[in-house]
Amino acid sequence: MSIASQMLEYFRRKSKAILGGGEKAIEKQVSLGKLTARDRITTLLDQESFHEYDLFVEHKCSDFNMDKKQLPADGVITGTGKISGFPICVYAQDFTVAGGSLGLMHARKITKIMDHAMKLGLPLIGINDSGGARIQEGVNSLAGYGEIFFRNTQASGVIPQISVILGPCAGGAVYSPALTDFVFVVDKISKMFITGPEVIKTVLGEEISMEELGGARVQTEISGNAHFFAHTEEECFEQIKKLVTFIPWNNRKRPDPFPPKPPKPEYDIDSIIPVNPRQPYDVRDLIRGICDDSDFFEIQEHWAANIVIGFARLNGETVGVVGNQPLVLAGVLDVDSSDKAARFIRFCDAFNIPLITFVDLPGYLPGVDQEHAGVIRHGAKILYAYSEATVPKVTVILRKAYGGGYIAMCSRHLGADFVFAWPSAEIAVMGPEGAANIIFRNEIAKADDPDAVRQQKVLEYTEKFANPYIAAANGHVDAVIGPTETRDFLIHAIEISRSKTELRPERKHGIPPF
């Protein structure tokens, strides 16, 4: 055979495999508003940077006449490439090939690229679009899922793992995304659930559509399973491109620094917080008033909005920001907000990203539903995550820091390296009203005019205790600083903490209250 005919044979095989499930199936995919698996990869990655492997992998199943069926690339595209010059490993399930169903070789292609990502110390991006297990392959298909879950867990905290749900992702398949760090969904395209509408209808008699059960809005607003919501696939890819600029390649590196930029002038930090401590404000405006270019990249924006988490830069360095949100439920901690913050804190700690915490909360949310949902166990997650973290931890107390909420929000006592407080800070065991009602209960009850005495006592308590100076006198606060000094204090704190070392007792792993 001449080289020319060898090349011809190579092009023939390659062009057939690249076509995936064929033109009809591609037409159907596009008619649903979806890109093909290959287009998704090339849209997400830098131009010409994608290098594909295992294009000629074939399945080995012979049951149910499967030996007569050829499934190009076994329904998944794997390879390496770059996003804004940042190297990554990627796979994308191809729904046009047997519905993107997962057989053993399909799974082995995924685990192979995962193993590469681990060896090379590179982030992994998985694009999910699959009908589920390839039933004809039976238990081998289950083996495939299990091998993926095992690697997701081994890679957790070693390389960043990103899941993109661009189609159905149902049954056992949902557990790979669930084990990864960030899950991206797109409106009307993403669908995630353990048991689908049909099973729910037959077993339980409840009727619900796929969208209402596990669509993108449900996963970002109600369940909290997904971290980023987009209206289109293109918007989703832009979000991923932005995310990778904030995170390092792996747990032995730091995120790449960017050229420092001042915050934008329209975020006037002096006028964001209302004088009345009972009035709300949007803590994100305050974060934007402090960070570089007022660019705050929020995560899980639509779920448990009483706490805000996300990435920003200070003097060009990535920081992870956690802030109570007085605008929503007065910024209380509850089951969901504790869960949300704790996982983010652990991500930042694993990937060498310093933590900045902005505190303004009246405490934990009261209620039977909270107690019965296990707010004790869930609330403990945030204490655990902050105490465990050894990255630089800097806390700024803006206004209220009462009781258990004060302790939980990265107080000195949980190992904060620096705790700063604004003059408006109120660091106390509880708010003046509640405290006065308890401490002066008898005096108020016996008074001729209980309301007047109560008001007097509240005023006295406020003057004496609702300030940062008692905590500062005890050394629980390192410095009382003004709003405009805050950026400078934070940048300095992060800068001098670069080589911070904190040794912890040797152990296999801790046992957080999952």
Binding site: V203, L204, G205, E206, E221, I222, E266, R278, Q279, P280, D282, R284, D285, A304, A305, N306, P326, L327, V328, L329, A330, G331, V332, D336, P362, G363, L365, P366, G367, V368, D369, H372, Y402, M430, G431, P432, E433, G434, A435, N437
Partner: protein
């Protein structure tokens, strides 16, 4: 900057705060103490057998009905000695979780 939306009140430790509610907070159900005179479906499923009728005296442990769910036949029994006041389901009914099945005097 953030959009202007109406705020609501949330009282914590006697202090009312102006803030916004989440959908989950608005939809939370007020807690009610369990009532031993009302037998509710503990799982969604189908009623495949009813063993009591109104006016009937039952003793602790007597079978009231069979609730089939997830391919299991659950024998729902009386938690106390009592008299059946009303049976709210019939054989073959599909019931939701926490649906009222039987009431005692």
């Amino acid at each position: 900057m953030s959009d202007e939306k109406k705020t609501q009140r949330l009282v914590i430790d006697d202090t009312p705060y102006e803030t916004r509610y989440t959908r989950k907070f608005e939809q939370r159900k007020p807690w009610q103490p369990p009532d031993p005179r009302r037998v509710l479906a503990f799982i969604p499923g189908s009623i495949i057998e009813i063993n009591v009728e109104p006016g009937q005296r039952v003793r602790w442990g007597d079978s009231l009905l069979i609730l089939e769910a997830m391919k299991m036949k659950n024998d729902v029994t009386a938690a106390q000695d009592s008299v059946v006041k009303a049976v709210h389901v019939k054989k073959g009914d599909k019931v939701m979780k926490n649906q009222l099945l039987i009431e005692f005097e």
